[in-house]
């Protein structure tokens, strides 16, 4: 309403808002351009020349475009509302105390939280009974730890302690951490990033754990493939997961794993490495 009159009584339709909206908004004080300092200098000729750039009153706009003042008032107010972004004030929440806004470093808050449809489906599929989750959290078993942090902590606190024993080989936490970092760096060089799927077809060897931890380091996703699976199964699984890379043995007995996986690249478009 304006002056107690509804939009119908004022003579406003959605078509009018569409037709005149941009013009009214552009002529209003919502965008102001001032050249020089005419107000302080009392240069009234210049003030008058720049009047439209500085924004016209609703009556002045109405006179220019042939609407009534209340029609302009209504259209302007509606446009101001429709163009208003409600969440921009959150940009203030991280500023101050020496931190200034920088256009080149600014990522809209919403873009930090864009997930793929697949990721959202996966998240929705992972449910825990609330009562159980509450118990685990209260006992401190779910403390917000991650695999990567867990490993880093052990590397720092007990670097010489054994982490993996595989046959006669023992890897300390320090050695494990170094191998994981190296492999993660290699993945990174190949362009593997947060959210990417890396398929792994390895037996129960130390490299399986190293690979898993390196994938976790990057925030990528590990897809496991049974050692018994061959081309047909692997093609289906790699395609379904949109795997970007696959880690496997070069050969295992009569199974030329690496050659097979390389051959699947042409059939799995996302498979790059």
């Amino acid at each position: 309403m304006a002056r107690g009159l509804t939009r119908q009584q004022i003579g406003i339709t959605e078509e009018m808002i569409e037709t005149f909206g941009d013009t009214v908004f552009g002529m209003s004080h919502n965008h102001q351009i001032r050249e020089g300092d005419p107000y302080r200098l009392l240069d009234e000729a210049e003030i008058e020349r720049q009047r439209e750039n500085m924004g016209l009153s609703d009556q002045q706009i109405a006179t220019r475009i042939g609407l009534t003042r209340h029609q302009v008032l209504y259209i302007r107010t509606i446009l101001e509302r429709r163009r208003f972004h409600t969440g921009h004030f959150v940009r203030l929440l991280d500023l101050g105390g020496g931190r200034r806004f920088r256009t080149e470093r600014f990522t809209p808050h919403l873009d930090h939280f864009r997930f793929s449809e697949d990721a959202l489906d996966l998240r929705a599929a992972m449910s825990y009974p609330p009562a159980l989750a509450r118990i685990y959290a209260q006992k401190g078993w779910w403390a917000g730890d991650t695999l990567s942090l867990w490993l880093s902590r052990h590397v720092v606190e007990r670097a010489e302690a054994p982490a993996i024993k595989a046959g006669r080989t023992t890897l300390t936490y320090g050695e494990l951490g170094a191998k994981v970092d190296g492999l993660a760096a290699g993945f990174h060089e190949l362009g593997i990033a947060y959210g990417d799927v890396v398929a792994v077809q390895l037996p129960n060897i130390a490299e399986f754990l190293i690979t898993y931890l390196a994938i976790a380091r990057l925030g990528a996703v590990m897809q496991t493939i049974h050692m018994t699976y061959r081309a047909a199964e692997c093609e289906t699984l790699l395609g379904h997961a949109s795997a970007k890379a696959v880690i496997c043995l070069s050969t295992a007995k009569d199974y030329a794993a690496a050659k097979q996986m390389l051959g699947l690249k042409s059939k799995c478009p996302k498979l790059a490495h």
């Binding site: 001032r34 302080r40 003030i47 009556q59 509302r81 208003f84 101050g96």
Partner: protein
């Protein structure tokens, strides 16, 4: 019974009025040229539209926040950065003072929105009054008025039927400051332009270091400073919501629930104000008498 008007010396009246303002806490006050205001401001927004027999427009300015406030996080600065209520209190008292002392009709000029023009349109432009009274000049920061000694201030106006000699606008404009000109020459932006969170300011500095063009996207600025419009937007989201959790979020999630609290407290300053352009302005923060510390130091040095 006709009121008996005593003879009033305009010069003495002006002195008394300006001293009253300073005594009550204004940093500076002046008289704006009514005729100039009437020519500049559009019909409906001239002093005569509010007070038909007005003869003089008095403008006064009060200081902004304390020096310490500039180091506060941006999210909290709005809570105590605005001191405009002090200006309004002084102006309100001034109107009564003038009527008591000079028995002349006077009004405190409301800083509020024109009920007949929707939000974002004030009844009068306090900015024009202050500028013509010589107590501020338009800056590249969206025409915020700055004073070479006091930095940025909040302004209030009083209209009176007393005839007072008007003052002149400031002879020079302190904006842009030399450091801002230097920055502009290097990167094409002044600090206020560079650090605005919604990039509402652009402009140009002339070769002689004065303002060439000021561009202000007031609509974008309002998205930071005027959360008022978020309130009906939240209600609309709740109405449009298709399920209970969405409705609940629209009304009661952390961001929106804050709005109801702010409205309940009733302070406009809680729903508005982003200070980032002023935080990085050398005039606002470092003018010789810009804050209580600088003013106290200046007084001690006298």
């Amino acid at each position: 019974m006709a009121r008996k008007k005593r003879d009033i010396d305009p010069a003495e009246a002006k002195t008394a009025i300006l001293e009253y303002c300073k005594r009550k806490g204004a940093l500076v006050a002046g008289i704006a040229d009514l005729a100039a205001i009437e020519r500049i401001c559009p019909p409906g927004y001239r002093p005569g539209d509010l007070m038909p027999r007005v003869k003089s427009v008095i403008s006064l300015g009060v200081g902004g926040q304390t020096q310490g406030a500039w180091s506060v996080p941006a999210k909290a600065l709005g809570y105590f950065g605005s001191t405009e209520s002090r200006a309004y209190t002084i102006a309100y008292g001034l109107a009564f003072y003038i009527e008591n002392k000079f028995t002349t009709p006077t009004i405190y000029c409301p800083p509020d929105m024109d009920p007949d023009a929707g939000p974002r349109v004030p009844l009068q432009s306090l900015k024009v009054h202050a500028e013509l009274a010589g107590i501020g000049a338009r800056s590249l920061a969206g025409d915020i008025l700055l004073h070479p000694e006091f930095g940025y201030m909040y302004f209030a106006s009083v209209f009176t039927e007393l005839e007072l000699e008007p003052d002149k606008p400031l002879e020079t404009n302190p904006c842009p400051a030399p450091s801002c000109v230097s920055m502009y020459r290097q990167i094409g932006q002044t600090p206020c332009m560079k650090f605005c969170p919604v990039q509402c300011l652009t402009g140009e500095v002339a070769d002689d270091g004065t303002q060439k063009i000021m561009r202000y996207d007031m609509a974008a600025c309002a998205e930071m400073t005027q959360q008022f419009e978020t309130v009906p937007a939240a209600i609309m989201e709740a109405i449009k919501a298709t399920d209970e959790p969405a409705r609940e979020d629209a009304l009661f999630d952390p961001d929106n629930k804050m709005l109801w609290y702010k409205m309940s407290v009733g302070s406009g300053g809680l729903l508005a104000q982003c200070f980032e352009c002023m935080r990085v302005c050398p005039i606002a923060t470092k003018a010789p008498l810009a804050d209580p510390i600088l003013r106290a130091e200046a007084k001690a040095a006298e």
